[in-house]
């Protein structure tokens, strides 16, 4: 058993960030649902609109955090190198491709659907952006889903 120095005790490590990435993915759909109840309701009070805007920003930051490889300055060079290694970049790239493909498909679907259904611009943007992000994060989670045993 090893112990970390007191000064380093509260600092994140590559391993702890990897664990967080794998274990907190379920938060994303919850945040999306939460946003959907608030962000396009212009009739609610200022506090609720502010809360909706914060939710939207929080989700955006979380997505970027996952997809762009965590360029956090407080991590050591070793931890940054591990978190942005080839496997992580490969998985992020694949997830981004899936997200872009989803955006293209959903956009195409909306263009066809608007022949029959009148689309609200805000809802359309919400659906387009979040479907792409949802698929991208889901793909990321699937490819990076578990830490294999030492010799699996």
């Amino acid at each position: 058993m090893s112990y970390r120095e007191r000064a380093d005790f509260d600092r994140p490590t590559a391993e702890s960030v990897q664990r967080t990435r794998r274990s907190s993915i379920w938060l994303i759909p919850v945040v999306i649902l939460q946003q959907s109840t608030l962000i396009f309701r212009h009739d609610v009070d200022t506090f609720s609109q502010l809360l909706g805007a914060i939710c939207w920003t929080a989700l955006t930051v979380a997505e970027l955090w996952w997809l762009l490889g965590l360029p956090f300055r407080w991590l050591s060079e070793r931890d940054q190198a591990i978190l942005n290694d080839e496997w992580s970049r490969s998985v992020s790239g694949d997830a981004a491709r899936w997200g872009i493909a989803t955006a293209a498909l959903v956009g195409c679907g909306m263009m066809i659907a608007r022949i029959w259904v009148q689309l609200d611009a805000g809802i359309a943007i919400y659906a387009l952006v979040n479907s792409a992000l949802f698929v991208a994060v889901g793909r990321y989670w699937w490819l990076d889903r578990d830490q294999p045993d030492e010799d699996d």
């Binding site: 590559a14 990897q18 070793r78 190198a81 591990i82 978190l83 290694d85 080839e86 496997w87 992580s88 490969s90 990076d144 830490q147 294999p148 030492e150 010799d151 699996d152």
Partner: protein, 68 residues
């Protein structure tokens, strides 16, 4: 014809008594990268292949080859 990258990573690593985690630390990558390269899931870049070969004390050609 499907071409795959064969490797002797696990064989060489275990011969040196290294775990995947220790090899990952030597190359500054995650253990998952080592695991996926060993299992043929992920094809490493030239840079990583050179780092792996250096860490394991062999040439790249001894470590990797094309399976046809």
């Amino acid at each position: 014809m499907i071409e795959r990258l064969g490797n002797r990573l696990k064989e060489r690593r275990t011969k040196l008594g290294l775990t995947q985690g220790q090899l990952a630390d030597l190359c500054l990558v995650s253990r998952k990268t080592i695991n996926t390269v060993e299992n043929g899931v992920f094809v490493p870049s030239t840079l990583l292949a050179l780092k792996l070969a250096a860490a394991l004390g062999v040439s790249v050609e001894q470590l990797f080859w094309i399976d046809r």
